[in-house]
Amino acid sequence: MPVRTVYTAKIDHIQIMDEHGVVDEKLAHGTLSDQEVLELYKYMCKCRALDETAFKLQRSGRMGTYPQNKGQEAAAIGAGYALQRGVDWLVPCYRENAALWMHGLPMHYVLLHWMGDERGNQIPEGVCMTPLCIPIGTQMLHATGISWAFKIRNEPKIAATFFGDGATSEGDFHEAMNFASTFQTPTIFFCQNNHWAISVPRESQMNSETVAQKALAYGMPTVQVDGNDLLAVYKVTKEAADRARAGGGPSFIEAVTYRLADHTTADDARRYRDPKEVEAWQGKDPVIRLRKYLTARSLWTDEQQASLDEEAKIMVTDVIRAAEGIAKPTTDDIFDYTYATLPPELEVQKRTLRTHSLGQYPEQAALSSVR
């Protein structure tokens, strides 16, 4: 036979809860209990409230550039909830705040980061994650390495890395995938396909029909999931986590979601994006979807929503107060983390806050009167 098929593949798309909050009971079975959904819904509302307030902080000059997470909360929360806090590692980008907070990052740290303060990256002891990552598509390799270390030491832990659709165009992404699959590391590659990379739509970013299929090239289990569907995201992430923990190697998840806000506060999406597209996706908002689901099951009332909104407002105020209550660091902060031990030249720079030598060094102190 001169021609034979040596490889075929398919990509599944999974949705459990549709945009009206209606659930496929069979698929939903064994995912999250109603009580869990209720708690995660409350948490999602709080994350949304903080995200919206962060936007306003930037607008009123109290914070620098901020990338809103709005619309992508189900992806972050569903994935985060499927991982073990304090055990598994998260290796994020910047659009999964809700997962980071869930795993123990104090909420105000994220604000601090965007307020131009590295202390927002000083991950507390016992919290297992890397800081927000600014260079796109670079952090996935670290997840591969972290989970490789777990594998080498036979620890039942995994690393999950989050990144956007655009990030899958970077070479490092492919190298991370190839390493992970070659060494069969316990890694989850979680792509938040929010349809846009700043102004570039996903269809112009790549010519492949799905992002998920990129994993086929690396022989990795891969799936596309409705990223605004908490139950489905939880289910596929849990499966990937269980597989990885059991020695089954890495998995890829493409969570199809949508960036409801501008790319960041420095962006104006009206320049390149049809408002009708945004409107259509507003209807698929994960918050609305969950509320419909809970309401239909008589688990949620308008009164409960009102009191939750109140609670969220208080929480947001506290978080902002915590972030803004942290005074500007001293200039020592510029120097102290460069090395474990400061080299002598840096000691001088730290002490004098000067780089020119006159007046800083004893042998050059013999200056006549300086005007």
Partner: protein, 350 residues
Amino acid sequence: MTTTQAHAAFNPKLRRRTDDETGQALVECNLVESITLTLAQEMDLDDRVVCLGEDVGVNGGVFRATDGLHARFGGSRVFDTPLSESGIMGAAIGLAMGGMRPIPEIQFEGFLGPAYDQLVNHAARYRTRSRGAITIPMVVRVPVGGGIHAPELHSDSPEAIYAHQPGLKVVMPCTPSDAKGLLAAAIEDPDPVVFFEPKRVYRLPTREWLQEDRYTIPIGQAKVITEGTDLTLISWGASVYQCLEALDTLPEDISVELIDLRTISPLDRDTLIQSVQKTGRCVIVHEAPKTIGLGAEISSIIQEHCFLYLKSPVQRVAGFDTIMPYYKLELDYLPNASLVSEAVRQTMAY
């Protein structure tokens, strides 16, 4: 004349007038507007010129440096690329070899990282390793430097890294008129040019009237901004403005010669040497870390050529030898007018 007319329509929002004395068509631009205008002019003149990069198309670039180019020249001259700096740089090298004149944009200097291998190990070396058979005429546009309250990796000054690479030319104009002439010269140049654009001065409130017709400023020529006899102050990029501010605070009887390098590689040694031979004192100001920065090279040139003329040690006012801090501390990191002024006074008093 034809070019002036062709471009009167390009960005009609810019103010235009005719110079009373010379009859020259003038246009009023800030730095970024001047860059956009020049790109449009060059693309009009030469079909081989194409722009590519992340968000440079419909969105006009995150700094709007390519604003309006997609509308004017279409998607076959202005390309939104996938999010991949190595891809942008490597493909631009290929475009150049394929007979185009590519102008890749790297969104921020911090993202040159993934493109480093292509730029340094290929673009810079092709002429040499092919003994001149293959050349890479391309202009890599990169916003550079701090001072705009940006996130991490959006505020660095890596020019010395690229200046250290033989085979690359590196320019960093800081005024609209210099940017126009240098960008045209860079596009014309047969070799790869890294064109750094100091983002802190992209949109200074005072615009500059400049000649609208095409002109070039030779790569490799520094500019004497103010002539002086006591001390040579050398800078480039946004720090030139800190130097200008410092000049205002100095006693009037200190006569400072302020030089804007404009081109970082190749360095205009003659202008620097002549100036320091005249003044006998020199202060160099740059945003990048001090150690092994460009100031070290300039200082060395001065030591080699002006040794017997020197009245005091050459001084460097630079960034600390640390990671560029996030923006809460960035003004504590960047050289400022008062530090420049202090270094000048101490040098005078030596």
